[in-house]
Subunit: 200 residues, 2 copies
């Protein structure tokens, strides 16, 4: 029984992640989730007490899921600039590469929830800050190895990197521009060149 419960819970999360990736947080309702897994709405209630609980669980799950896609290949690259580059390469376009039918749920949530107060917004904020901290740590590693300038404004670099990520997301998924990857790569390399030169 515990095993069945566990499997249904995993199934709900995996199916909910697909839904969230295509339709955003507001598209994830208990009814839609029940339908997608083929169980009753009360069956979903056995796992999650409310729509908000589902959304919070899915956000956690999506970052655990995403981190394995993005960070594992990065950790196999040598520390410093190669690891930073590997992380960026695995990060951009991670959602379709991970088999999600839609885009990055966190990117979409940052536009969906900018005016919505509450625990779901707070969770996205927390996950976004954690990801920026991870990127900052990778940049700092490349500084310590002497590959990037020591007096670099790390937060600025990460801020700009997030902009390139968002532009790539729009370009690849919304505009469906075949040059999205190439444009992102040019922008990232220019940013790294600036970070080597140490210009703020």
């Amino acid at each position: 029984m515990a095993k069945v419960q566990r499997n249904t819970s995993d199934l709900l999360l995996r199916s909910g992640l697909d839904l969230m990736s295509q339709e955003g947080l507001s598209g994830v309702t208990l009814g839609r989730l029940a339908e997608s897994v083929g169980i009753s709405k009360s069956g979903v209630f056995a796992h999650f007490a409310s729509k908000e609980q589902v959304q919070l669980a899915l956000l956690e799950y999506s970052t655990r899921f995403g981190a394995s896609i993005v960070l594992e290949p990065a950790m196999r690259a040598p520390a410093g600039l190669p690891r930073l580059r590997a992380a960026i390469e695995a990060w951009f376009g991670w959602a379709p590469r991970a088999g999600l039918p839609g885009g990055c749920p966190i990117a979409a949530a940052m536009f969906e929830l900018d005016d919505v107060e509450g625990p779901v917004r707070a969770k996205v904020l927390e996950l976004e800050a954690a990801w920026r901290a991870t990127l900052s740590e990778l940049v700092s590693e490349a500084q310590r190895s002497g590959e990037l300038c020591a007096d670099l404004d790390v937060a600025q670099l990460v801020w700009e990197l997030c902009g390139i990520y968002l532009s790539h997301h729009v370009s690849a998924r919304f505009v469906r521009d075949p040059s999205a990857d190439r444009r992102a790569s040019i922008a990232v390399e220019a940013l790294i060149a600036r970070a080597k030169a140490g210009a703020s």
Copy 2:
């Protein structure tokens, strides 16, 4: 009577734009719109045949509304780099400066509609392409005046500029980071410096 109709239509658009800016396109329903203006749902039907018609009208209206905020000050600046800079300054954060209660409806729509086919997606795509064409024209003007490098990849510059805009949107509206304007300004100036040097 024509005057009353006209005024109600204007009121519906203005009120709908506020709604769209806070809740995204999916938040704009005929019912919500009727409620926000204080008329009956059938009163809204007298102006728009469907939710889709409202969304299309609102998207058109938001860019006409936004263009007056962004382009009018830019056109008062001298042609070339000063005009490009004035347009960027007026563009970043235009929505709150225009008195909208939420963020840029087009930016949010590009994440909301990336997996939704149909005329609303096509309209956002058309408006986004038109805005990129306007930005490209401003960059080309600065090239012709000799302020930016002649062999610059204009589409790449505009692509990166859109990324800085999106990062600023997230930073100012979602993260509510007080340094959002400063970070955007550093990123824009670095992009312009690269465009002067002609590095791709």
